[in-house]
Every structure is written in structure tokens, then in C-alpha cells.
């Protein structure tokens, strides 16, 4: 009972917003939760200090050798504590909240990093992680670099007379297409690259779309992810679907792919946005 009182007291304290900048430059054993957070840590040269990652971390390749504490929204307190962390840096959507409360109760600081699918969110996250691990200078350099790249991209985009209408297909479920709306990584990267996500105004998240809605949206370019769903002849298969065939994208055979990592916003976002920009405005048609 006394323990649960201590615990609830700690929880109450953790609920009060910490205005003071959280900084733990001496942290030697960091558990990194969330792919982008892990990428930032490694980009800041702090990879040596990371002792465990979550399932969503895939990059750089070195993270695959680290112990995996599970999916970021289903963390187990004991699992995380078992790797002996002295700092936990996590995406703000990590959880469940009970686990985070328990970790704080075990006197392990938890730094939450806000994320969103925008360029500003990326540089803010880089600065936040940097100050949390006492690498403020490196973080400032990296964040400024990302900002400069994105600003240059924005200048190039301003030259584009008419934004290309792009539709991102997450998956093809036997002809039923799962398409990106707004508030998705796909929407964010398409917007940064200077494209116009055709389903952005229609809905939020990924939804299975009605064929006629696709025809009505008239996409000029179909975008998909490389990776597991990718296979020989996929482009032809998608472009031949009745819903796609009559759209400008279907008629012109405009089909392109981006790496799945481009959908998570991190230090590589500016580079992904630049290459997507080049793809969108200089793509070669797929023959069919």
C-alpha cells in the first residue's frame, strides 16, 4: 500500500509539465523507443550509448544487434528495466502510460519526443534528443542542416507551376486499395516533396478506397513503398486495375516507389523529400 502511494506520488509529479530542459549528459545506457528517435541518436554519434531499441527501429543496421524491448505502444516495464537503462528517450505516442509511470517510479528518467509529419517536427525532435543526451552542439548542426535542405527544397518547389497530383497506395488487397489520406507519413513526405496528395482533403489516416473515388480524384502519379509487398510486375498490375487505368496515372503509366523508411520522419527526411521531389517531377513511365 505504501508502495502504491509512493508510486502515485511519483506519477502525480510526472504529470506536472517539466518546463526545465531535461538533460542527462552522463547517461550511458539509453533505451531508445521509436524508429526516428533511434535514428537521431545514431546520427548524433550516440549509438554507443544506446543499449536497447523497440521493434519499430530498423536503421542504421547496427540497431538490429541491440535487444528489442517490444512494440513501442506495448512496452513492458520489467522488460525495459531488465536492460538496466539510465535514460529512456521515446516518441510521445509510446506506452502504455502505466509502463511509463512505472519506469519513472523506478527512477529512470523518461524523455518524450513530440513527433509529427512535418519538417519543423524533425528539427525540433533532433534538438530535443540532443539536449537530452548533452549533445546540444551536434544536434544544432544536424537540425540546421536538415532545415537548410528543406528550405532549399521549398525554393525549388516554388518554381513548380502546377503541383502534381499524387496518390500513395499503402497496400493492394486483391484490388481493394489502401490509400493514404492526411495525417500520415506518406502525406507529409509528398507535401514536403512538393506534390499534392489527392486524398489529403478527403480523409485522415489510411483507408480502403472506393474505386469511383479514385477515378474522381484523377491522380497523375501512383506512389507505393518498396519492401515486402513489392514484387515483379506490381506496377503493371496496379496500373491495370479498373479504378486506376482510366486516370492520368494509369494512361501515362506513372508509377513510382519510395523506401518505407521515408514514411517515418527523422534525420533522413530532407534527403527522402529531395529524392521524391526529383522522382515526382522527372519520372519515366512504366511500359504496359
Amino acid at each position: 500500500m505504501i508502495r502504491s502511494l509512493i508510486l502515485s506520488a511519483v506519477c502525480a509529479m510526472s504529470l506536472t509539465p517539466a518546463y526545465a530542459e531535461e538533460s542527462y549528459p552522463d547517461a550511458k545506457a539509453i533505451v531508445s523507443i521509436g524508429g526516428p528517435v533511434t535514428e537521431i541518436l545514431f546520427a548524433l554519434g550516440a549509438g554507443e550509448r544506446v543499449v536497447a531499441r523497440d521493434t519499430t527501429a530498423q536503421f542504421p543496421a547496427a540497431v538490429m544487434d541491440l535487444p528489442d524491448v517490444g512494440y513501442m505502444r506495448r512496452l513492458s516495464a520489467e522488460g525495459v528495466l531488465s536492460v538496466g537503462p539510465d535514460l529512456i528517450i521515446a516518441r510521445h505516442t509510446s506506452g502504455p502510460p502505466e509502463t511509463l509511470d512505472l519506469l519513472r517510479a523506478a527512477s529512470v528518467p523518461v524523455v518524450l519526443v513530440q513527433d509529427a509529419f512535418t519538417g519543423e517536427a524533425v528539427s525540433a525532435a533532433i534538438r530535443k534528443v540532443g539536449s537530452a543526451i548533452g549533445e546540444g552542439k551536434k544536434a544544432e548542426t544536424l537540425a540546421t542542416e536538415v532545415e537548410a535542405d528543406l528550405n532549399q527544397l521549398a525554393v525549388d518547389i516554388a518554381d513548380v507551376a502546377e503541383k502534381k497530383r499524387v496518390m500513395f497506395i499503402l497496400s493492394n488487397d486483391g484490388g481493394r486499395l489502401n490509400v493514404a489520406g492526411r495525417d500520415t507519413g506518406a502525406h507529409g513526405i509528398i507535401t514536403l516533396a512538393g506534390g499534392d496528395n489527392v486524398m489529403g482533403p478527403a480523409f485522415s489516416g489510411y483507408k480502403l478506397l472506393n474505386d469511383e473515388a479514385i477515378i474522381k480524384a484523377q491522380p497523375e502519379l501512383i506512389l507505393m513503398m518498396t519492401g515486402r509487398g513489392d514484387h515483379e510486375g506490381r506496377a503493371e498490375e496496379i496500373l491495370a486495375l479498373p479504378a486506376i487505368a482510366s486516370t492520368p496515372a494509369g494512361v501515362n503509366g506513372a508509377f513510382q516507389v519510395i523506401p518505407g523508411a521515408a514514411l517515418g520522419f527523422g534525420p533522413r527526411t530532407a534527403a527522402f523529400a529531395r529524392s521524391l521531389h526529383d522522382i515526382i517531377y522527372d519520372e519515366k513511365p512504366v511500359r504496359h
Partner: protein, 357 residues
């Protein structure tokens, strides 16, 4: 071949029939000891294996060890025992009440209702007015799951009761209809869920004891305990009911009262269990059957032993779920189904002539 099979005497007497109350009592003793051992194992074994459990229990532990043993393992272990017991006893009571070996608490709508409540809370929770969120905080999902399960059962009970008599058949059929309806509503809400929420929904359905906390334990334990205490008093009535409702009445059993107690306590304990741990399958069916094969169908010993064995099995499944891919954790529903399924099948094939009546 068929003729040969039929010539073999079917073993329904001798070692199988007869008074097995002493066997049942012996089993109770063995299971009590096994449960105590499993509880100790559950406290002493986990992903953080360098934890000094003895110091945390009796001595002067570090903050980290104290949190691991007292705030993580202890509520988790106690929740596991109670939920395992509740699921197993509820399964046994339902099988007795419906006189059907396949009955499980899902039949009274509690699982479907709880699922609907949980999904609604996960997806629509953000739309609640701020004062409500301030009160329930992150206990919104368990509260909604419990209320959903309980409300669905009350509705079913109301539908199936006419002129002071509850028809078990109506309840079964109405349960299917209500299940379809809540399934449709759940599907509709799922359609509007975001990616993060979809992940949460999927994991909720697979169950886990990992989210156990003192607050959740304190809230669910009284409801679950009520059922565990009420169940043995139902035993004699359930035995009589095996002869049919009319025969049970002639034996002096108030069948209606018994149905009411059975249905409402099962809804309460399963609702509370599901609220805390999410969906954990198979324990409600496997445990009572296992015990019936050993000690016969007499509910007097069966219900007590089901509670003990349910607790043991859930704790063992939890031990596997938290160690097999440590430091990550496998949802426990996957473990109970993956181990329970083949094991149940093996028991079934081995004891065919006992099951086929």
C-alpha cells in the same frame, strides 16, 4: 473395422464412475501447493533476472528492485491468479448452466460487449469531455470494457426472461444476434481508427497481464472475488441441473434464482477480468474439461479445483509470455491458445471414449 470398434466395451464404469470426492479433495491439496509454488516462481522470475527478490521482500532493496518486485511483479502475479481463477470457474459454471461442454462465458455476451466497450474507448475516448477524462484517466479502456460486458449481459438476461423464467435457449440465440450487432458496431468503429489505435485494438484482443497495476487490481479484485466465493454455493444446484430443469426443481432447487446468480456473477468476474487483461482465450474451456476427466463431473470439487488450476495455468502462460522473447513480451492470449489448443486436442484424442457419450 467399425464392428470391431463397437465390440470393445466402452469404459464408463469401474475406475471412472463412483464417488471420487476423496480424489477431488486430494487434488485440491496438490493444486494448492502447486499454486503456491507457481506464485513464488512468478515473483522470482522475470526479464530483469538480476533483481534481488529476497531483499525487496524482506530487506532493504534498491529503488529499482523495489519497483520491479512490488509494483510490477506483485500486482501482475495477483492479477494473473485472480483472472485465471475467474475465467476457469466461469467456464465451468457456464458449462453446467447450459448443460453444454462447449459453453464459455462468451455465451452470455460478456466478451462481445467488453470488446465493444474497449474498442469504443480506444477509438472514441478522445472525444469525451475533459472532466470525464480527468476522472477515469488512462483507466478509460478497462472501465468501458467492464461496463460494455456487464450491460450486454443484463440486456441478454432481460430479453431471455419472461414471466420470471429465463430461457437458456432464448439466451443462446439472442446472444448470437447481439454478438452480430456488437460485432458490426465494433467493425464500424475500427474502420475509423487511426493506425496507432488499430495497433492498440489488435494487442488488446490478444490479452496481456503486463498492464496490471495496484489500482487495476484493487478495482477488479472485489468483483472477481465475489464470483469465486459465490461459485461453490452454486455447485449443488448445478449438479441437480444436469438432470434437467424440471428434475432440478423437483429436487428443491430454485432454478431461476440459481440462473440469475450464475449469469450475473459470471458476467461480473469475466467482465472485470477482460477489462484488466484484454481477451485471454481457452482457459475457460480447457481447465474444467481437464479436471472433469480426472475427477468426474461433480461440481462440488470441480469449481474449487478449477479456480486453483486456472490460476496456475495463467501464471505459467504469463511466465512464458514474458520470458520467451525478453526483453519484449508476447501477448498472453497467444500463449494460452498456442499451448492450450494442441494440449486439449491431445487430451481429447487420448480419452475419446470418455468424451464421446
Amino acid at each position: 473395422m467399425v464392428a470391431l470398434e463397437q465390440k470393445r466395451p466402452i469404459k464408463t464404469s469401474g475406475a471412472v464412475a463412483g464417488d471420487r470426492r476423496s480424489l477431488s479433495r486430494l487434488l485440491t491439496g496438490v493444486l494448492c501447493a502447486a499454486l503456491a509454488l507457481t506464485m513464488l516462481l512468478s515473483l522470482g522470475w522475470g526479464a530483469a533476472d538480476e533483481t534481488d527478490v529476497l531483499a525487496a521482500l524482506f530487506g532493504d532493496p534498491t529503488m529499482r528492485d523495489e519497483v520491479i518486485v512490488w509494483d510490477i511483479r506483485m500486482p501482475r502475479m495477483l492479477t494473473g491468479v485472480l483472472v485465471g481463477a475467474a475465467l476457469a470457474v466461469s467456464g465451468a459454471v457456464m458449462q453446467g448452466l447450459f448443460r453444454n461442454p462447449l459453453a464459455d462465458p462468451g455465451l452470455v455476451g460478456v466478451s462481445a460487449g467488453a470488446g465493444f466497450g474497449a474498442v469504443s474507448a480506444i477509438v472514441l475516448g478522445g472525444f469525451l469531455p475533459a472532466p470525464v477524462i480527468a476522472v477515469v484517466g488512462h483507466y478509460l479502456v478497462p472501465v468501458a470494457a467492464f461496463l460494455g460486458g456487464w450491460a450486454t449481459t443484463l440486456l441478454l438476461y432481460g430479453i431471455a426472461t419472461r414471466g420470471g423464467r429465463t430461457s437458456v435457449a432464448t439466451m443462446l440465440l439472442a446472444g448470437i444476434a447481439l454478438g452480430a450487432l456488437t460485432g458490426a458496431l465494433t467493425g464500424l468503429i475500427t474502420y475509423y481508427a487511426t493506425d496507432d489505435q488499430l495497433r492498440d485494438l489488435t494487442f488488446w484482443g490478444m490479452g496481456s497481464v503486463a498492464g496490471a497495476s495496484w489500482a487495476k487490481f484493487m478495482a477488479s479484485a472485489p468483483i472477481i472475488l465475489l464470483t469465486l466465493i459465490a461459485a461453490p454455493f452454486l455447485a449443488r444446484a448445478l449438479n441437480a441441473l444436469a438432470l434437467g430443469e424440471a428434475a432440478a426443481s423437483h429436487l428443491g432447487i430454485d432454478v431461476q434464482k440459481m440462473k440469475r446468480i450464475a449469469i450475473l456473477t459470471v458476467a461480473g468476474s469475466v467482465g472485470a477480468s477482460v477489462a484488466v487483461t484484454g481477451g485471454i482465450g481457452f482457459i475457460g474451456i480447457v481447465v474444467p474439461h481437464l479436471l472433469r476427466l480426472v475427477q468426474g463431473p461433480d461440481h462440488r470439487g470441480l469449481l474449487v479445483n478449477a479456480a486453483l488450476l486456472g490460476g496456475i495455468i495463467l501464471l505459467l502462460a504469463d511466465a512464458i509470455s514474458r520470458s520467451i522473447i525478453a526483453p519484449a513480451e508476447l501477448p498472453i492470449g497467444i500463449v494460452t491458445a498456442a499451448l492450450g489448443g494442441p494440449f486439449f486436442l491431445w487430451i481429447l484424442l487420448k480419452n475419446r471414449n470418455l468424451v464421446e457419450m
